[in-house]
Amino acid sequence: MGQRLDFERPLQELEDKITELHAFMEEKNVDLSDEVSRLQKRLSKMEGEIYENLTAWNRVQLARHPERPTTSDYIERIFEDFLELHGDRLFGDDEAIVGGIATFEGQPVTVIGHQRGKDTKENLRRNFGMPHPEGYRKALRLMKQAEKFQRPVIFLLDTKGAFPGKAAEERGQSEAIARNLIEMAGLTVPIICIVIGEGASGGALAIGVGNHVHMLENSWYSVISPEGAAALLWKDSSLAQQAADTMKITAPDLKELNVIDEIIPEVRGGAHRNVEEQSKAIKAALVKSLEELTQLTKEELVNHRYEKYRNIGQYRFVTDTIGLK
């Protein structure tokens, strides 16, 4: 079942009780199956209550679950013939981003994603999934390669942000992100982006300008992390839970704001509970998106992306303008 989160504690208690009863039944050779099935019913009801009423903060917790599947977990289950490709040809190879070629349902694709580590050692190597400019430039190189050979590009987003470091600034973190936004705007192949965990700020958007953008049910995507928002707005990062709510960062929020296309349902309790099932759900969303987007010509794809982003935002007009004198 994996590590439990604080809001899952009542479930844990019930499960422990059921396990205890089973042990007791075996040990004493008594039949308590009525009691067990009563508890199991209660557990299932409680699961429903908890998982169908997740707060924004609960979803953030799930998105950060230590066992949450990463980009490579999904790549190996969703794609075939994956061949990882390295390096930006300019400076180095950033392991916070993985990318390569593969087939999806027999069709050639390029797949690129942020890559967190599974443990401390891997996290150090992968910089906790926080890319440097060379990571974004590797992504750019691979998407231009995909364009040359006219295969769709699939991006998996999962980052706490672009890395805030000295070297990153020296090598042009801003330019690397900005350049990707521009180039993704004009790419003549289908682009599908899926937020699988955390989607923080420009570091996520830098591989996030797609024809379709989907989010896993318990992922989040915003201009800043809840902690960052709390620190900036209220000078108190402990107000992160409140910020998670106020900032409207969950998949249902973004659907409501017309920023994303589909919410990909997660298995009950979060993607980490069943990676195989979760991969199937993502696969289904990809099949549907590709079916739709491969109908479009190069020009239509670029225009489709233009219209999508051109219309995001809310504003109005007043008549009593001050204007400029």
Partner: protein, 285 residues
């Protein structure tokens, strides 16, 4: 009279700019943050708001910048009436906007329009750091996008002076998406041969630095302007080491190959004019 107090009409940004200038006159003297010397404000204005003693570039408002850059009387504003909504129902956001509207006499953090530089027509956007730190929400993104589209339609260049703390927190993911919105417009403009000049002024950081500001056909900056993606304090906390004094200044960026030139404000108009001239028809007629 008393009744009026209770029937206060809800209005947005009703303070006329002329009035505010009279009510709050600039001090006769200004202290230079660069060399701490006291300068006549009138003298400062004559020298493009650059300290004659130490060369410190004092911050310019959008109206001051337009006056300093464009030919006299040539500016025609676009979308001045556009104002922000409160899409996330963010607490205090509307009040803060109204406060900054009064303070700056602007409806939002960017002024856009068209004008001429030594006779060359150009679309122009100028961000104003006095308004919500020049941050980009839906209105800033939309106005810049419309200015780019205007340049595209008129086949004239697009020039932007950036001054921004980044994306506007109070509009959440919608602010983030303005980076993508301005990018799709710039890409279309650029593919059609449009000339885009970006001039980064103090400060240009976060989501503005990481979108249009960094992808000009020409990337210019003013001396000593702070330009960068992440904040200095966050970087120091992350890497636990002291950063060089000139870190994230225009000169630092120039040294690391991120800028074409650092340009003194007194040479700005001349340089822009030169670029426009060399681009012939694309520089407007």
């Amino acid at each position: 009279m008393l009744k009026d107090l209770f029937n206060k009409k809800k209005k947005y940004a009703t303070v006329p700019s002329d009035k505010i200038k009279q009510d709050v006159p600039e001090g006769i003297m200004t202290k230079c943050p660069g060399c701490k010397s006291i300068i006549y404000t009138k003298e400062l204005e004559k020298s493009h708001k650059v300290c004659v003693k130490c060369g410190y570039h004092h911050q310019m408002s959008a109206p001051e910048r337009l006056k300093d850059t464009l030919d006299h009387g040539s500016f025609r504003e676009l979308d001045a009436e556009m104002i922000s909504e409160n899409p996330l129902s963010f607490p205090d956001y509307v009040e803060r906007l109204e406060k900054d509207q009064k303070k700056s006499s602007l409806n939002e953090a960017v002024v856009t329009g068209e004008g001429t530089i030594d006779g060359y027509r150009t679309a122009i956007a100028v961000m104003d750091a006095r308004f919500r730190m020049g941050s980009m929400g839906s209105v800033v993104g939309e106005k810049i996008t419309r200015a780019i589209e205007h340049a595209h339609k008129e086949k004239i260049p697009f020039i932007i002076f950036t001054a921004s703390g980044g994306a506007r927190m109070q509009e959440g993911v919608l602010s983030l998406m303005q980076m993508a919105k301005t990018s799709v417009a710039l890409k279309r403009f650029s593919d059609d041969g449009g000339l885009f000049i970006s001039i980064m002024t103090h400060p240009t950081t976060g989501g503005v630095s990481a979108s249009f500001a960094s992808v000009g056909d020409f990337n210019f900056a003013e001396p000593k302007a702070l330009i960068g993606f992440a904040g200095r304090r966050i970087i120091e906390q992350t890497i636990r080491e002291d950063l060089p004094e000139d870190f994230q200044t225009a000169e630092f960026l120039l040294h690391h190959g991120q800028l074409d030139r650092v340009i003194h404000r007194a040479d700005m108009k001349k340089t822009l004019s030169q670029v426009l001239m060399i681009h012939g028809n694309r520089g407007g007629e």
